[in-house]
Symmetry: D2
Subunit: 303 residues, 4 copies
């Protein structure tokens, strides 16, 4: 208990920034070479930009340079719709892959579930509390079970059952719905279906899954049963981008919890639930705040 001091939620924002300060976030990667940091910093400085976050990473084995830079648009000498165009020559000079986004952008997220509710509850509550800067217009499920939960949050619930025979058709329907609802990000929140390669290719690096083990240990089905069988002393959860290969996508975040012989499979499931919830929420938040760069089969997380 304490005297009341914190007035509700605050936006994460530097104190020096005004209440509506919008920032530009540049994520880039390119072959490592001299002059990169100077080149980007000079671009922002030239137009009077105030950098509030800059972080870079060099992978010496791959010879790859990766960077995240964030600066205030306020006072920046280039209108926001021209920033990309102005940066283009620098990008070309260094052969960069890059993307630019503004901090007032609100992505649209669809949450996929089956019968387990904990990750769904957690994501919807976080969105509602303003912890996740996104809209969640849609929950997709292959079961009817969680419809009432979506309803209590006032979110559309699309029940799209699937069998081996109807899988292609169900995915087509799902994709159409996602497009209609203008979904940017898909979160598999304990969705117990394997999505097809074709589906994945439609949302590259925009599908986040939570796997209920410390990957690469216990990939595949029933990881808590596997963990119990093996007698491990620690279990984990892993959030990763979904790729064509099952449970092999770039890892975004992992966490673990200690267990012992006292823990039955049911206890592992219970302890694991909290991990899944928190690890998935962290990964989604990192994605939405543009903190992640994927390269090869790995991520760089600038946090």
């Amino acid at each position: 208990m304490e005297k009341e001091t914190i007035a509700g939620r605050r936006r994460r924002r530097e104190p020096s920034m005004g209440p509506n300060a919008v920032t530009a976030v540049l994520l880039l990667s390119c072959p490592d070479q001299k002059g990169l940091v100077a080149g980007v910093a000079d671009f922002i400085y030239r137009y009077g930009g105030n950098i509030i976050h800059a972080d870079q990473h060099t992978d010496p084995e791959e010879g790859t340079f990766l960077q995240r830079v964030e600066w205030e648009l306020n006072g920046f000498g280039v209108p926001r719709n021209e920033v990309g165009g102005e940066f283009e020559p620098i990008a070309r000079r260094f052969d960069m892959s890059w993307s630019l986004q503004f901090s007032d952008h609100v992505a649209r997220t669809a949450v996929f579930v089956s019968k387990q509710a904990h990750c769904m509850y957690d994501l919807l509550a976080r969105q509602r509390m303003g912890e996740l800067q996104t809209e969640i217009p849609l929950v997709v499920s292959n079961h009817e079970t969680l419809g009432p939960v979506a309803e209590s949050f006032g979110v559309e619930y699309a029940h799209l059952p699937v069998t081996r025979e109807t899988k292609a058709e169900q995915e087509a329907k799902t994709l159409a719905l996602l497009e209609e609802r203008r979904v940017d990000l898909i979160v598999l929140a304990r969705y117990m279906q394997i999505v097809s390669d074709d589906f994945v290719s439609r949302y590259p690096r925009r599908i986040i899954n939570i796997h209920h083990s410390f990957l690469p240990a216990f990939a595949g089905a029933r990881p808590y049963h596997q963990a119990h069988e093996r007698g491990v002393k620690i279990i984990g959860a892993t959030a990763h981008y979904v790729t064509a290969e099952l449970d092999q996508g770039p890892i975004i975040e992992q966490d673990v919890v200690r267990v012992s012989h006292r823990d039955s499979v049911a206890d592992l499931i219970r302890k694991g639930r909290d991990l899944e919830m928190v690890v998935l929420a962290r990964a989604v938040d990192l994605h939405l705040r543009r903190r992640i760069l994927v390269y090869g089969s790995k991520t760089v997380v600038f946090n």
Copy 2:
């Protein structure tokens, strides 16, 4: 992702037990002496009881013995309403403090909040999913803010504002309401008011608070600000029973997360929220499953 294999929530229960197997849970403490373990074990064995959990602890400094024993009522040769009476002579012989409860008991919990919603959302969702074996008939708050959240879960929301002048009166009203709703357990889920000694004395060892620091570090107000100021590399959260002394009650559970110079106060608040949520939920669950014995200013947690 994985093929669907886990059918919804399972009750935590030993595989050998039938679906409705009720157990008796005995929590006891007494001066350490020879024959204690034999005495209790013999009592259960004599009537054909099947022990499914037994754990004990001896505090050699205090000379105190503490034990938790759980056994199946099914097949036990004493009717449930006579178990206490039958145990009484053993308790008297060893000078025990003890309590007995049956696993089908469903406690009634009131959640106290102010303006921050995360712990409240989490507790209500867990109750709804069946993770916490309790009913939550009531949310009490000194603000109107979270009324709609309670409503979306169909839970009564008592808005009982408080000022320095009206504190006594507000607590009286609150106590009356708690009695009316037959509340067994009070959870202060980021309730930003100090409850009076008198109030505490009405619910001894039945008020659980979450403090947003790793106690005893940063007791009192604004712990995240204090932590940021001090430059710690790890922050924590602490769930404890509320006693007359502020933030001094017996600690039930704690957890921590690593932070760095990159984390602003707002980041500490954000990271801390996840800790608060999980640590509080664990503490409430331990209480409800009768896993905690308080002695002196400490707890023994049998888990």
Copy 3:
């Protein structure tokens, strides 16, 4: 800094016990059945024994009961060399596997190393400081490299090089030496050789290995390289008993540390070293204090 208050090492011992109080430790497992706890507790109580530690575990799937009981010999009505004989009828009645050991027993440990010194330094220093209740009469290595380290601790260093062709012969020599030095426990402290099944069968559940990954992730060779390649966010180390199957033995202890994209393979190796050291030392200590029961492919660690 603080004023000096702790006078050197203390033996881990209950305060009530005299300086030389010897205890008996009974480790047992048997089919689960009623009356077990009562039976053992009654045996100790009958002869006036004072239990200072008792812990048990029931595996409901296997129907197995496992227990560790420790009591003071002082005042116990059976001379130490007759305790086993007196317990025998109870063991037979419940069909127990059991072992009995006294706390003043000092096991003899051989440490096996290759070229990396950190675990060896750590174990020898702990032994020297009295943290590990064991003698270490012998270090075995397939390289000459660490001879001077052994020498600085005054420990015999057996350089027994091995090639594919000489493996059988080298193991025979090693076994002869272990026997001569009356070794009870073998610790593979980053020993980079696979020991043969035959060798393992000579020291069942008495060879402890440290594997430098969070098993079952990254079994086999070069786990840090594998971890770096996969882009995991956490790495680990695993201490386990050695069995015929490589990296598949019962896990005793594990721990993990967070890593990021900033960590090169060399950084993983560096961070991992600390894990290996600490995890291995904990496992050896648990073994020496008779805290571990192996059953099937798992351990129960009573701590």
Copy 4:
């Protein structure tokens, strides 16, 4: 176990660098202002320097900018003894505090101990294995106890006993000895004496202490006893720079371990030892690798 693949210790070094590649490390702080990153990056780029590590931090509350940049000297167009002079104008322009060091510098460290050996063993072993890039010419102690340990590592052991009356004199002797041995860094490795303000002022930000608690919890004497008394569920250790105020210096590194009611004070001491060892070693390594910037009462750790 695994086939032997890692050939001894490796220097932590980028793969692209030759075996003897020397780098320059620049640590700087100054008032936050536009053009800083560009200014420093441009300086290095102008002379053809290859940046292999760059990290910066802005404290928006203090308006302070802090940076660490590391680049290869090989191919850099300024001779090493002129780098500072060339950088001077930029430093002046931005009003920087800064320091420059080359990666082949080997600092000289003195280890201070009392009677407990674990941190001393660990530091000496790490130095010997090449894990810490430093020489350790001297161990200072107020007791004779650990002389043989120093001797076994071939390190000078200065026994300088101290009483309330002789403290000033002892410190004077110690300072003289430190100067004679050209010591750059002092590590208080469970040295149970409070060093005077005057002493501290002679080695500002060059004395590292390990405190055996999770500061600011349990500052002062007997932290494990305090922790046990309070019934915390997690204990910690803290490495910090020593300042005039006891246990209040800038925190470098902390870590924690879970404990329970089962742990006696002796168990806390035992578990804490491993924390102390590892946390202190990490802090010393960070210092030696020039990863730490102190500002105000806090550190920025670039790792």
